[in-house]
Amino acid sequence: MRFTIAWRLGLVLVMVGLLGTGLTGYFAYQASREQLLKSSEERLLTATQVLMRQVTVALNDVKADVRLIAQHPQAPRILQRSTAGFQALSEENVAKIFEGLMVVHPEYFQMRLIEADNHGMERIRVDRDMGGLLRISGDDLQEKGHYPYVFETLSLPPGSLYVSRATINHETGAHAGEGRPALRVAAPIHDARRNAIGLIVINVDLQGLFAQLAADLPPELKLYLANGRGDYLIHPNPSRSFAFDRGQVARVQDEFPAMAAALNGSQKEESHLVTSNRASDAEPLVAAFGIRTIPDMEGNDAFVLGLSQPLESVLSESKQLASITLGIVLSFSAMTVLLAFFLARAFNRPFYRIVAEIRRFAVDGKIGNLPVNRRDEIGELAHSIQMMEKQIQHQIEDLQTQQEMLDHLASHDSLTGLPNRRMFLDRLQHALARAKRQNEQLLLLFIDLDDFKIINDTHGHGAGDAVLQAVAQRLRALLRESDTAARLGGDEFIILFEGTWDDAQIEQMVHKVQTAMAEPIPYQDIELHSGGSIGYSRFPQDGSTSSTLIAAADQAMYNCKTNGR
């Protein structure tokens, strides 16, 4: 295949097409991937925010429970100790309330009423134990006055609440809650004189609480919870939860460096979105974190709540997208190649046809079948070429005509139409050569018009011309096809006869010519009388070259004229 313009054009088309589809595909993929990532980040962020709201709601529920009991008239009465019977009944009732609430709230580890006196003695305590609730009494009740949730709560004004930091419960005898992460929500109980005389505490199972909240999350989403310093309280990898309780450090900002600014800064209550880039010890994640200060919490601490999703699972959709995009790009590329091929062919064909036609025209000059009926540029080109061909054809014909005319002019006498001296000499040469070759003879008649000068002078040049024309006419009538009559100039004519002539025949011919020339010539209203002196020479008798032959004939004519006069 030749590397023609059409194919080059085709190639360019293919390249442009491939580049176009390739780039479109690539950027479409890139944009969709970004979009996917963004939308999944937004999804995570929304989920985190929802979860955060749920946490607040759940904590508010706990607070409401604590406050409800702390502000119940029964509570101060128990602490102020009335009669033993009434006391026992009251305690029984409150314990029932505790148990009722703990049945409804499986995330409650423990509910207690603690008095301010007796070193923070527990008065009513219900623990959750394996499979059930346990009313703790007697010696098993403990003094808790030295724990922050007691002394901090007791220092609060009426109506306030205390929420402890999330810690591992190291208090012995705490049953299900022992050694487990817990949050303590407490409210002080005041007497009529607004003295804090005790408190209500609920130990909330941190993991249980969050497990409930996170139960509806898709399984690939992992939950993170940290305190305001970033220490993990809940982490997909349990060895990172409560690392500070084991003297180690595992913090959000170490795993997700983008969180450092948010955690160190004072701008809390914000949602932050980050993507973990630390692929060294874990798979890359997309994670959304929210920070919320928990009202009433010890030290104004905050919760950092986060959800993560493996980047892999976010991008799995984009992988699918990539393969679809690739398929589209490939099929479009194939279509481009095919299209370019057909286009190149469609483009090539009329050109080849035009070129073939032009070649043919060059050879035979005939206008061929050009695609002139097309209404496009090729049609226009074909049309132009056809016009040009026609023009060329026309000009060539003109040239030929002119050439012929010129040839005629160069070899004939314009007045009489007889061959001129040049042409005659040419023919004589040819005839001589032929005669010499074939041992034939030639006869030359030299004719000179008599009285031509007188006619010219008397009747004008028009008469002279008429005479010359008439003589030529008559000579032509006398001759055979093979004979040549010519005007040598002025009033001199010469005739060449081929073939063998005897004297009688020559005399007869001379006579015929003389007779023909003696005939009067009508000119306008008059008749002109001329006549001719004739001399002849023969080949080979009188000479062997054209000049000698002509000279001999001329001489003979001269002799004749002289003698005749």
């Binding site: 780039l23 950027f27 403990q142 003094e143 030295h146 190291h170 450090v249």
Partner: protein, 356 residues
């Protein structure tokens, strides 16, 4: 519309990622190269810049675990010995580690910085508890006395006895340390028992009862120095048992508290913390290098400047008041002390505390 620069950037990205892949294929994986040294230390013993320098100089990663009580330290080293390489322990505690075969000898000859130590810390055989069968099992690092910190506005005159912790006038204004071994020693001191480190079985109930009384007199208990400072400041405490000694004094003064430090007449418990290497240490040579590193001028200086502790290089009591140091000795039964203390701290009354 795709701009040329975006296109070029895209191309460059792909080139870069290809190059990164090639580079990745050419270099050995990182995790194959970097060993890890697992360190157990007390707060302030291994400052971040000290750790960082060690990591750089030895091309290792240091995994630091901070302990805040002897019980925790024992639990870690005894139950997870192979998870740690080197740890800081006081001379009294070291005894039971040696007895339980949890540590291996330390070779001072491999630790050049020991030459800079004071003579009394270089003579290892003269320090009780370091040697066993002629081999040293730890090298001294830092020491302090555990005195009393008091608020100068609330105490006039200053407390002179350890019994001030029990003084009912300061109920709810006393802060104590959450550690069974020391607290039983304090109880023994306040009961004027013969030795705070060897409480006779018959005296255990008295000591436990004394600690219940302490519990009832305190505001709360702390484990970390920061925690103690926060408690002290927030609740206007009057008296605090300084388990971390001068470390806490320094921190409180920085926090702006008007406090003073006193060594009670009964004498202050004093600890000398040493670096020791676990039996199952992965790389004992690296552990020796760590000890050497912490005995160098930078780490030693930071101990004094930042923690208020004394190092073993300079003979300067660092402004510590004079008083009889009671160098810690192995107690009669640490496990029992800790078990009882857990119950006491949880709020149990004497009958429950002493229950089997």
């Amino acid at each position: 519309m795709i701009s040329a620069s975006t296109f070029i950037a895209a191309c460059r990205r792909s080139i870069v990622s290809v190059a990164a892949l090639l580079a990745l294929a050419a270099t050995p994986p990182l995790w194959a190269a970097q060993p890890v040294l697992r360190v157990l230390a007390w707060p302030g013993y291994a400052e971040p810049e000290v750790v960082q320098r060690f990591e750089l100089e030895h091309q290792v990663k240091v995994e630091l675990t901070v302990v805040t009580s002897d019980a925790t330290l024992w639990e870690k080293v005894s139950a997870h010995n192979h998870d740690f390489d080197v740890f800081a322990v006081n001379t009294a505690e070291l005894q039971r580690y040696i007895a339980a075969n949890l540590v291996q000898p330390v070779h001072a000859g491999n630790i050049p910085n020991t030459h800079n130590q004071l003579a009394r810390f270089r003579d290892l055989s003269a320090i009780p508890g370091l040697m066993h069968n002629g081999k040293a099992y730890a090298l001294p690092y830092t020491y302090t006395q555990m005195g009393l910190i008091y608020d100068r506005k609330q105490f006039r005159p200053p407390p002179h006895s350890i019994t001030a912790l029990w003084d009912e006038r300061y109920r709810g204004k006393v802060i104590a340390y959450d550690g069974g071994t020391h607290n039983f020693s304090l109880a023994a001191q306040s009961l004027r028992l013969d030795s705070p480190f060897r409480i006779a079985p018959k005296d255990i109930p008295r000591a436990a009862e004394r600690l219940i009384e302490l519990r009832r007199n305190t505001l709360g208990f702390y484990t970390q120095p920061e925690e103690s400072i926060q408690l002290f400041m927030r609740h206007g405490a009057a008296l605090m048992f300084a388990n971390y000694g001068m470390q806490q004094v320094q921190m409180l003064k920085q926090a702006g508290a008007d406090i003073a430090y006193v060594i009670p007449q009964e004498g202050a418990l004093a600890w000398l913390d040493c670096w020791s290497i676990t039996r199952d240490a992965h790389d004992p040579a690296l552990a020796h290098a760590w000890i050497d590193h912490l005995l160098d001028p930078q780490a030693s200086r930071l101990l004094v400047e930042r923690q208020g502790l004394s190092n073993t290089m300079v003979d300067d009591s660092n402004g510590q008041p004079n008083g009889k140091p009671l160098w810690l000795e192995p107690p009669e039964d640490t496990i029992r002390r800790e078990m009882l203390w857990e119950r006491i701290r949880s709020g149990d009354r004497l009958t429950r505390v002493l229950a089997p």
